[in-house]
């Protein structure tokens, strides 16, 4: 029974057991596990040689030798291809033991085969070996990498001690390889940064987080260079950092550059904000994306109120539509924008500005840059100069006219004088022979006077040739020009003007002559205003029944006594109001100009009430004309 029991055990243990008997090596016992090793045809009674076994030749050889020599043999992790009924052949590993069985302790009569499947162990061992190889390779690679990258790499333990510092640290700091990194490193940090860095590192270690901060580290040459320190914790278990691995990157140049850019940008912004001029930029599409501070100061509007197109609402209402169209055209065509516009200040006052905008194309694309320059003073100066110029031109013209008419008017008395002299010479006799010489001198003087007057008239006439009427003048424009020229005097007396020209808005006349006439009459009306009342001057243009153009200028001034024979109105050098400054040529000139063009002038006046001058510009075509 125990023997049977033993056999049962041997058949079922998870190790292969077999016995071989005799020189022919006949199987006397093979358990199931051993059949996996030797093959299914290894059964009791079979010989080793006869079984079509999967055993390799070298193992058969070894078995033979053990039997012959009687020396036991043990091999570890022997690889065998093992096939079973349901599985294809696969490599498995066995520990094999071959033990000679001796009959009566003497002659080897058989063999005991023993096989234990160690495939799992062997595979684990092989994997461990492979892993070790891989680890060594990775380690080597990591070392090469950490030591060749430009960054300094480091590992710190939980107590803040440096476990590893890459050689770059020594190159950078110039410290000897034996330097105590823990002690030296904090001393190399810029004093201004040291506390902050130590605090931040400490804080990160306490909370178990990574860090990223910048500080200045002293280089081997004593210069402090900006570095970026970044590290991440290596966690063993949740929230249990053991190491921090990090890298130190030199960012000095980037930081300097960024700093310079920041500074440059801030300076430019400061510059743009400080200039007392409206400065702005616009996108490709023409939407304004920047206004300098002066723009908001000047306009009193916020950036939001200004918005992408709000600048146009700063312009004078009359100019907005035109400026908006011009801007759209500029954006569409890329042509510069330039114009003179009135822009509303925060207090509602409009000042003249030149608005200029040009496009700039650079690597950031296309943008518009604009400025609005205050030209209010220049504008006023220009206006004042224009007024003065007009005044001078008119004075010059008046002078011309005066010289012409005076020379013309003086010729008749000169001719009369000549006639009288001839008559005198013919009828009178002179006793004194010297008087003959005097007569000749008088004759010469008369001839000279006549020639001079003639030449004078001819000179002025040639200059005035271009003053003949050539175009139909827009009365509204000319009157406005003249009144603008008289603005200072009008403002001084707070004069009111009433202009009604709808009935005859155009006039064929010489521009200079028209201006002279109107200027003289209106300035007279201002000059001889009544001191007790505000001057009210009416200009009324109309056509008479037979189509003769008329301009009526009436005032509420001092008026004139037309009946006074001592002071005929249109006489040269005669003055109606000697107490008021003047030369006495104004009305004389007006009349000369009008009559030279075939017209005439009438005056109606009541002292202390006012005067009305009625100018008939052209020759009358019907009997109604009085002159």
């Amino acid at each position: 029974m125990p023997e049977q029991h033993l056999e049962d055990i041997l058949r079922h243990i998870p190790a292969g057991v077999a016995t071989l008997q005799g020189t022919e090596l006949q199987f006397s016992f093979v358990n199931e596990a051993m059949r996996l090793v030797l093959g299914q045809d290894a059964r009791e009674g079979q010989t080793l040689a006869s079984c079509r076994s999967q055993l390799p030749a070298d193992l058969r050889e070894v078995i033979q030798q053990v039997y012959q020599t009687g020396q036991p043999f043990v091999t570890k992790a022997y690889g065998l291809f093992v096939a079973t009924a349901d599985r294809p052949a696969q490599l498995r590993y066995f520990d094999l033991a071959l033990e000679p069985v001796r009959e009566a302790e003497e002659v080897v009569s058989g063999l005991l085969l023993f096989a234990v499947d160690v495939t799992a162990q062997e595979q684990a061992r092989q994997q461990a070996y492979q892993l070790a190889l891989d680890t060594r390779r990775l380690d080597a690679r990591l070392r090469v990498l950490t030591e060749t990258v430009p960054q300094i790499t480091f590992t710190i333990d939980a107590q803040g001690r440096y476990e590893y510092v890459s050689p770059q640290w020594y190159y950078f700091t110039g410290q000897p390889p034996i330097a105590a990194v823990d002690a030296v490193w904090p001393l190399l940090i810029h004093p201004d940064d040291r506390l902050r860095v130590l605090y931040q590192a400490e804080n990160a270690r306490r909370t178990g987080t990574g860090w990223s901060y910048e500080y200045r580290l002293r280089r081997h040459d004593g210069q402090y260079r900006w570095v970026l320190s970044r590290a991440l914790p290596e966690l063993h278990g949740p929230g249990e950092p053991v190491f921090w691995h990090g890298a130190l990157t030199e960012i000095h140049d980037q930081r300097e550059l960024a700093e310079a850019l920041r500074r440059g940008k801030a300076e430019l912004r400061f510059l743009a904000d400080s200039i007392p001029e409206l400065i702005w930029t616009a996108t490709t599409e023409g939407f304004i994306d920047y206004y300098n501070r002066y723009t908001t100061d000047y306009s009193g509007l916020t950036l939001d109120e200004l918005g992408p197109t709000g600048w146009v609402s700063l312009l004078h209402p009359e100019e907005q539509a035109e400026a908006a169209r011009y801007w759209v055209q500029s954006i569409a065509s890329g042509q510069p924008f330039e114009g003179e516009y009135r822009m509303r200040r925060h207090d509602g006052f409009y000042r003249w500005h030149i608005i200029r905008a040009r496009q700039l194309v650079d690597e950031r694309g296309l943008r518009w840059f604009g400025t609005c320059t205050d030209v209010q003073d220049q504008h006023l100066l220009h206006q004042a100069l224009q007024t003065q110029y007009d005044e001078l031109a008119r004075a010059h013209h008046d002078l011309d006219t005066f010289v012409y008419t005076a020379s013309h008017d003086l010729r008749q008395p000169a001719l009369n004088l000549r006639g009288l002299f001839e008559e005198l010479r013919r009828t009178a006799t002179f006793a004194d022979p010297d008087e003959g010489a005097i007569l000749a001198m008088v004759n010469d003087a008369l001839t000279q006077l006549d020639t001079t007057l003639h030449d004078l008239a001819a000179t002025v006439r040639s200059q005035r040739a271009h003053q003949e009427p050539v175009e139909i003048l827009d009365l509204a424009l000319v009157l406005e020009e003249v009144l603008l020229g008289l603005l200072p005097q009008a403002q001084l007396r707070q004069a009111q003007f009433e202009v009604a020209i709808e009935n005859a808005p155009g006039l064929l006349y010489s521009r200079a002559n028209l201006r002279s006439v109107v200027h003289n009459l209106v300035s007279n009306a201002l000059k001889f205003a009544h001191p007790d009342r505000q001057p009210h001057i009416k200009l009324h243009s109309y056509l008479t029944a037979d189509g003769q153009p008329v301009l009526e200028i009436s005032d509420n001034g001092l008026g004139m006594d037309l009946t006074n024979p001592q002071a005929p109105v249109f006489q040269l050098f005669v003055r109606q109001h000697p107490h008021i400054e003047g030369t006495g040529v104004g009305l004389y000139l007006v009349q000369r100009i009008i009559t030279s063009q075939g017209g005439h002038i009438e005056v109606a006046s009541t002292p202390n009430e006012g005067s009305t001058f009625t100018i008939y510009w052209t020759r009358a075509t019907s009997s109604k004309a009085q002159h």
Binding site: E305, G310, P317, A324
Partner: protein, 168 residues
């Protein structure tokens, strides 16, 4: 009538379509927007050409603000850039309409609420000049310079002092 008493705003933005829309898609978009906008009393105009989108919408802030939120998150376009949002005293557009360059112009002309780019009327005179300028610039940005240079300059609309200054 009540609507005119409530505060109203208008809002303009520009964006880029993620991909070009076909005429069919444009027509669907037109129909959908017309329906939704009529329902919520939203008026305005949408410009579309070769992937460029711009829209000006008018209405009550309670409607427009969430509407713009939705528009800004719509996946069919990107680079949404709000140009202006401000209170207005009255509407400038009687309805909601859309102008685009159709790939196949025939048939679109008859569509209600649709305008060919070259037939867009000048901005209504109820807009401040600043806002009219904005619409003109938007149209220029969407349809290109020929759309502006070809249009005959509209006569100055004679802005009253308050309409031109109100825009501020």
């Amino acid at each position: 009538m009540l609507a005119t008493l409530l505060a109203m705003i208008h809002l303009a933005y520009m964006s880029r379509a993620v991909r070009s829309l076909s005429d069919q898609e444009l027509q669907e978009l037109l129909n959908q927007c017309r329906r939704d906008n009529a329902l919520h009393n939203v008026t305005g105009i949408l410009f579309y050409s070769h992937g460029n989108i711009a829209q000006l919408i008018e209405g009550e802030p309670e409607v427009l603000e969430p509407l713009f939120e939705r528009i800004a998150q719509d996946g069919r376009h990107s680079h949404v850039r709000k140009l202006v949002q401000r209170t207005i005293s009255k509407r400038s557009f009687a309805e909601w309409s859309m102008a685009f360059h159709p790939l196949e112009p025939t048939g679109f002309a008859a569509l209600q609420g649709f305008l060919l780019p070259q037939l867009i009327p000048p901005p209504p005179s109820t807009l401040t000049i600043a806002d009219a300028l904005l619409v003109d610039l938007v149209r220029l940005a969407v349809f290109g310079s020929e759309s502006v240079l070809a249009v005959t300059a509209p006569a100055p609309s004679g802005p009253t002092a308050d309409s031109s200054l109100a825009g501020g």
